[in-house]
Symmetry: C2
Subunit: 362 residues, 2 copies
């Protein structure tokens, strides 16, 4: 029996056990080919089938309309911060809703390129990032090339529970909540996401882009940094991260077998509801600093009465094999990341521990 702990890491994050087992079992001999998927040519038939299936599963599970492309890129969301601006600004300006660490970085790259404008800043009143904007709070530039949002803020623990409206195309960094719920992709111009939270391991970035935004490709950009090149090459213009893409394929098979986006949404809502109910039900001991309507279903943050108690809580949790619950160093406190692959039974174990700890130390 393999030793496995419960892993609340914010990303890279826990993966479905069955996916890991399948990956292990075929690591030396992929589907009877006598070589590992790690050793297969990115241009060979074995990998081509994996590549195509990863793409078609994502299209199916997110009901991606036909006028969108699914790309497998590299460099994480951080590379997309730059690439979105490089490809879409075209001498103009774009609006950014700043709701945390990562949207600030996305804005900074657009500013380097001369075109980032703040449409909302959740930290403007002081007190950090504890909410996302309401639609009417967005100060939109009618000439903006796009509106950029971060749908879930991994560090802060906030999440949009509606899709903002904007005349400009909506560009969303969905790294920490992609495929965690049903989604109307047609409302977006570009969706991008590092895979390492809900979709697989680190090393591949999913980009879903509306065909009309791909354009001809800006001739002033290096070819490899034009979305046009990646679309035309079907993400095989050069050697891609074949093993991470294969792992994404495996995770998508697991999502499909577990009810798809709707199934994940139901499962994720139930997990988060149990955890938030435990926090709110022990309000003399636990406190969630996030505005009620902005609470994330992916990254649940909370505080204890003192920092000493938080340290003790983290240490005792680790003794119970509940790992990775320390809040991000920039905000402190506790953060439990409960992405798709986190089992409901693990949340039950966590809340049991929380109640015991509160009873003993409250």
């Amino acid at each position: 029996m393999t030793h496995r702990v419960i892993n609340f890491n914010a990303g890279p994050a826990t993966l479905p056990l069955s996916v890991l087992e399948k990956t292990r079992d075929e690591l030396l001999d992929f589907e009877g080919t006598g070589m590992s998927l790690l050793e297969h040519s990115h241009r060979g038939a074995a990998y081509a089938a994996v590549h195509a299936e990863a793409k078609s599963l994502l299209k199916e599970l997110l009901s991606i309309p036909d006028d969108y492309h699914v790309l497998f890129m590299q460099g994480g969301a951080s590379a997309q911060f730059a690439l979105v601006a490089m490809n879409l600004l075209d001498g103009g300006s774009a609006d950014y809703a700043v709701t945390g660490t990562w949207s600030k970085k996305a804005l900074a790259e657009a500013k380097v390129l001369g075109g980032g404008r703040v449409a909302f800043d959740a930290s403007a009143g002081g007190g950090g990032f504890t909410r996302v904007p309401k639609q009417e709070e967005l100060d939109l530039d009618p000439k903006a090339r796009y509106l950029h949002i971060t749908t879930n803020n991994t560090v802060a623990g906030t999440q949009y529970h509606y899709i903002p409206k904007s005349d400009a195309p909506l560009v969303a960094d969905m790294s920490s909540d992609i495929l965690s719920r049903s989604l109307d992709v047609s409302k977006f111009g570009i969706i991008y996401a590092g895979a390492q939270k809900n979709l697989g391991p680190a090393g591949v970035t999913i980009v879903i882009i509306k065909d009309s935004l791909v354009g001809e490709g800006n001739a002033a950009l290096p070819k490899i940094f034009r979305y046009r090149t990646i679309v035309d090459g079907d993400s095989l213009q050069n050697t891609g991260p074949t093993f991470p893409i294969y792992m994404v394929r495996n995770v998508l098979q697991w999502v499909k077998a577990n009810g798809g986006a709707a199934g994940m949404e139901q499962r994720n809502k139930a997990k988060a509801a149990l955890l938030y109910a435990t926090i709110d039900g022990n309000a003399d001991f636990f406190r969630c600093p996030i505005e009620l309507e902005s609470r994330s279903l992916m990254n649940v943050v909370f505080r204890l009465p003192t920092e000493d108690l938080e340290k003790q809580f983290i240490a005792e949790a680790a003794k119970n094999e509940l790992m990775g619950i320390k809040g991000h160093r920039s905000v402190g406190g506790i953060r439990c990341s409960i992405y798709n692959a986190m089992e409901p039974s693990s949340i039950e174990k966590l809340v049991g521990f929380m109640k015991d700890f509160a009873a003993k130390n409250g």
Copy 2:
């Protein structure tokens, strides 16, 4: 007993069996932590040790001087084609020795950015890319920001067996021969290499850069595309491709246990010598189109009397579990890629097959 064939793929390529076995054995539980390396935080202690060891092993095995940085990046050599030019051109021009498909692409990115100049073109006389330049054939611009070479040409089957001299810093795409032989890194300004041939799987790019070339970072570039950012972040400025880096660490451990760069060089020379001797020793049947002094020790290309015989050769090789020997679609013929991990005994099996085939069909 796991079924394994002999894999002559040009990259992604064969990996040492012991590396794959170790990876498989700890895939669900990395070093007793109860989670997969795939699930470990890039900021946690377990991964940090892997990251540091991969870096220090590379420094040790290539005797990298202290005034060089080792970076783990993404996007393959193709991204470096653009990034080198973006970071180093600075409004000037750079020299490119064009010796194959990939150096042509590198030059094209510099041209997009306004500064690519041909210092040599191996295809200029017609007849394709069958050699690398001699030192005296390089037409060097005294004002060039750098001289770019491709040390081994995977498609063509050519390789430099000397290090070109240039007043400008030497930038080398070493994707297909890094760590295949002893190397004087101090002769280079930048070395970059996709890992998927000699160092591990696809999905991570090694960059070795002299500190004096990192500079302050060009403020006009997106931060994520400045070498300065990656140096300052120790390649952890954002989530990197942790699993591919871990695989590189595992491969480097294997290289160290097998004699380091010098051991690889000895092994690779012996493998290539046996293969070329078989080609040259059956000159009525096999023919290597590459100039003698430019022959690659990594990608051995040859032709048979007719294309029909080549097809038959590839098909019969496959029946003998000798896979991936078809030449690149742009040049045809046969290509056997025999990187570090290719076992000498596999070359013996290959040449045995070649002799039999020549005897039966010659």
